[in-house]
């Protein structure tokens, strides 16, 4: 009769134990900062793998999201004769929400899952153990560069997504549907605030970068070192990232834009 209660207790204990491990893990990873300052090559190599190789996916997705925004926005706004405000609508939705959020979701699918699988397999094939026995700290050599590569890449990718997205909206709205080019840009310029919109957007994408990469490297490091364990960890990495990004987006939005 007490069995379900016991299971519930065990499950909650597991959750808290894992949260504790994740926090300790982050603290340890931060101690590797001097190492990446001393050897920036480690970080740059990972930024290439994590960031540069994601550019095509992010750019194309940004273009299509912007084009859809242009089309849908035009349909709604033209009913009210307000199609001149299309620029504001496209830019505000991209800068405030879609840029950081969609980039984070794509980033976790493209780069986060790869990080989890890579680190999980390094653990399963004893590469991490091997490093330890060679007196090389895998935390500093493997984890810290990947963590910071992800954190630094996210805002850049989100910026790219937003930038290309606005041009996607411009292409559909101005070039195809005939919205006035001057109003498209001037209304956008008047309505988008540097502090309120752009800075908050960068803060959001930095926060998502921390969340997604932290989850990805931790799940890999914490994976059960078997093929099944790595496969589960990779799934968890993407699922938890999605939840964490969307949940924290609500909190951040409420803090930034809520009255």
């Amino acid at each position: 009769m007490t069995a379900p209660l016991q299971r519930l207790g065990a499950a909650s204990l597991n959750v808290f134990a894992k949260l504790g491990r994740a926090n300790l893990f982050l603290a340890l990873a931060l101690t590797g900062i001097p190492e990446i300052l001393r050897r920036p090559g480690l970080l740059i190599r990972q930024m290439y793998v994590v960031g540069v190789l994601s550019v095509l996916l992010i750019a194309l997705s940004g273009l299509f999201v912007g084009m859809v925004l242009g089309l849908q926005g035009y349909n709604v706004l033209s009913d009210f004769g307000a199609e001149e405000s299309l620029g504001v609508m496209v830019a505000a939705s991209l800068v405030r929400e879609l840029g950081p959020v969609v980039t984070a979701l794509l980033f976790s699918g493209r780069a986060g899952s790869a990080l989890t699988a890579e680190i999980g397999l390094m653990k399963a094939t004893e590469q991490l153990s091997g490093m330890e026995m060679m007196a090389v700290d895998p935390m500093k050599r493997v984890i810290t560069p990947r963590l910071f590569a992800g954190i630094l890449s996210m805002p850049l990718l989100a910026g790219l997504f937003t930038y290309i997205g606005i041009y996607g909206g411009y292409f559909v709205g101005v070039s195809l549907l005939g919205v006035d080019e001057g109003s498209f840009w001037s209304q956008m310029q008047a309505a988008i605030d540097f502090r309120e919109d752009l800075v908050n957007s960068v803060i959001k994408s930095l926060a998502f970068g921390v969340i997604v990469t932290w989850i990805a490297v931790f799940e890999g490091y914490d994976a059960v070192p078997t093929s099944e364990g790595v496969s589960r960890a990779t799934t968890r990495s993407v699922v938890y990232s999605a939840f964490a990004v969307l949940g924290s987006d609500f909190v951040l939005t409420a803090l930034m834009f809520g009255e």
Binding site: L121, M122, Q127, S129, G130, E132, M133, M134, V136
Partner: protein, 267 residues
């Protein structure tokens, strides 16, 4: 018994448990400098665990492990890392870094721990690769190597920093007779040529006995036999006999503990 400064690794009263299962129940062991010492025993007796305890990757419940006079589990992290630079370990899988080629894998410890100029790193790496007969394979990636070659590359990497000892974790498992012969010869010649101390964990009786100076036989968390290969071959301990002769049943039972067979079937 050997003189105490002759002992590189000294294990006293080692107790280690994994979850509720007790892996080691008070083990004493002396590993002599310059010798090849084998640790043998059936699968699942914690031979690999013992290597990890010596390397400081696991902590014992009680007891001590001293390597070259240092109590491994009392060292600070930086002292432990300093000690590990003088210990090589060969993992069963080789544990090569899959994103680096053979040359870079062997160069890895040198690049991490020294500031040697590139030309010297190149010479050192080629010397180590020559020692294991794979100088020609330097451009290959780990995925292109056979299991035996991967282990030899890992061996070259393990001796890159000229350690005082090397630990081999099941070096012969899954090898064809030729690469098995190569590894057997390499372990002995490297040990003697470089003045190393080798610890070989294995359950391949004949191969291991042919190159070791001293053998410990582990079973059920205890040492059930020890001596030179000749002494063990002549031993009349049922544990040692079963293991050395590969008998299916004996003190180590053939059957995993189970309820009575007849009752189990008729239930």
């Amino acid at each position: 018994m050997a003189r105490s400064d002759d002992i590189l690794v000294k294990i006293r009263g080692l107790v280690f448990s994994h979850g509720r299962r007790r892996i080691f129940d008070g083990i004493d062991m002396d590993i002599r400098r310059g010798a090849v010492t084998a640790i043998m025993g059936p699968s699942g007796t914690g031979k690999t665990t013992l290597l990890k305890l010596i390397g400081g990757q696991l902590k014992p419940r009680s007891g001590t492990v001293e390597v070259d006079g240092h109590d491994v589990h009392r060292l600070s992290r930086s002292d432990l890392y300093r000690l590990r630079k003088r210990m090589g370990m060969l993992f069963q899988s080789g544990a090569l870094l899959t994103d680096l080629n053979v040359f870079e894998n062997v160069a890895f410890p040198l690049r991490e721990h020294t500031d040697l100029p590139e030309s010297m790193i190149r010479s050192l790496v080629l010397m180590k690769l020559e020692a294991v007969g794979l100088r020609g394979a330097r451009e290959l990636m780990p995925a292109q190597l056979s299991g035996g070659m991967a282990r030899r590359v890992a061996l070259a990497r393990a001796i890159a920093l000229d350690p005082m000892m090397i630990m081999y974790d099941e070096p012969f498992t899954g090898q064809d007779p030729i690469s098995m012969g190569v590894l057997v010869k390499l372990i002995r010649t490297l040990n003697d040529a470089l003045g190393l101390t080798s610890i070989v964990v294995s359950h391949d009786v004949a191969e291991t006995a042919s190159i070791s100076d001293y053998i410990y036989v582990l079973s059920g968390g205890r040492i059930v036999g020890q001596g030179t290969p000749d002494e063990l071959r002549r031993s009349d301990s049922p544990w040692v006999r079963q293991f050395m002769d590969g008998l299916p049943d004996g003190p180590v039972p053939f059957h995993y503990p189970a309820p009575d067979y007849r009752e189990d079937l008729l239930r």
